[in-house]
Subunit: 186 residues, 2 copies
DNA sequence: ATGGACATGTAAGGGGTTACATGATTGC
DNA sequence: GCAATCATGTAACCCCTTACATGTCCAT
């Protein structure tokens, strides 16, 4: 349901091809939504059927032909309706957390390794995030109103804070498990 | 893929019916995984076909008949393999965050309302979490080895920390947007 | 000549949601 | 009389993933 709205959101900024949309997802909101390129093409066809977007074919001689999509009035309406609906719910699905929940079936050593891996993945992700806003602004600053970038920063900051929280949590779990290990050895 | 392993995880603790599994999800890991009751029954049939669980029918006169499921050796093996695989990835999908990202298409006022709603949902969720460990331990302490409860606490603590992080982040966004509003009025 | 950027799709299948269907017993 | 608890399922549909399929131009 939300890939739909992600696509509409980008088309609010600019007309784009499926190919460019796929790139836009990868270089910006991949941290809160992502999709395979093929899925984006499927979604675009559906959106066109529903008249939420329209396309025009551009014939190119040096490159493959392309279909440039733009958002329609009813597409914009649909997008704004989604944007202004405040009932998202804070719950989520997290397979890693479920593993931790069930880790009594494993050993403290293995769980410590799992937590260390998680923590280092988070550190990596966090440092990868640091260049996202610059990339985004570099790519879109010419075409996008300046008031959008504030919200991009909010979203990036969320992930940044989230990763830090994960790292701190993992460290405190590792500490608790180390103590368990020490007591077992006595 | 992970509902499978959640079911197997619970069946490691105890033999259970589909009905009880649905309740177990709701009263414990609903904060990191959830499923419709009907989906659990479907999944149980698939697991039985794959010989990862087996069932026995219990005929009851006062209540409807029931099928009690238990995990098989290959089920336990599958579960442990999943548990010890450390490649979960830290990325996730979050429709709310995507809305924030695209909120340049809305107004600061509406976005402040959205953030306030989010913050208050998080507070609610956080206070609901406070009784989860007690509920869990009350329900399962007789049947579950005591070393499991440490991991339950880890998982609950994660959500607790996450909700706090969300509240702090939302407040700082609201503050930034209030300043934008003030500058606009000048 | 090899690989990357450009560019668009189809097919099969998995996992999940929503809605619907049934029916007995127990407690207020 | 009504709602809750116990108890199990089917059907339709949606979204997404993985894999496959095709083809050109340009730079190294």
């Amino acid at each position: 349901m939300s890939l739909t709205h992600g696509i509409l959101g980008f088309l609010c900024y600019n007309d784009m091809t499926g190919y460019h949309l796929a790139k836009a997802f990868r270089s910006s909101i991949h941290f809160c939504w992502y999709a395979q390129t093929s899925q984006i093409y499927l979604e675009l066809s559906k959106l066109e059927q529903k008249k939420l977007v329209k396309s025009r074919l551009v014939i190119q001689s040096d490159k493959p032909n392309k279909k440039i999509y733009s958002i329609t009035d009813s597409g914009k309406q649909e997008f704004l309706q989604w944007l202004n609906d405040n009932h998202d719910g804070v719950g989520f699905k997290n397979a890693f957390l479920m593993k931790i929940f069930f880790s009594g079936n494993s050993t403290p050593e293995k769980t410590i390794l799992k937590l260390q891996q998680f923590s280092s993945d988070c550190k990596q992700y966090k440092s990868d995030m640091e260049c996202v806003p610059q990339d985004l602004i570099y790519q879109y600053k010419k075409t996008v109103e300046p008031e959008h970038t504030l919200y991009w920063d909010f979203a990036v900051e969320f992930i940044y804070q989230y990763m830090q929280m994960c790292i701190d949590w993992a460290n405190s779990c590792i500490k608790a498990l180390s103590e368990v290990q020490e007591n077992m050895q006595k």
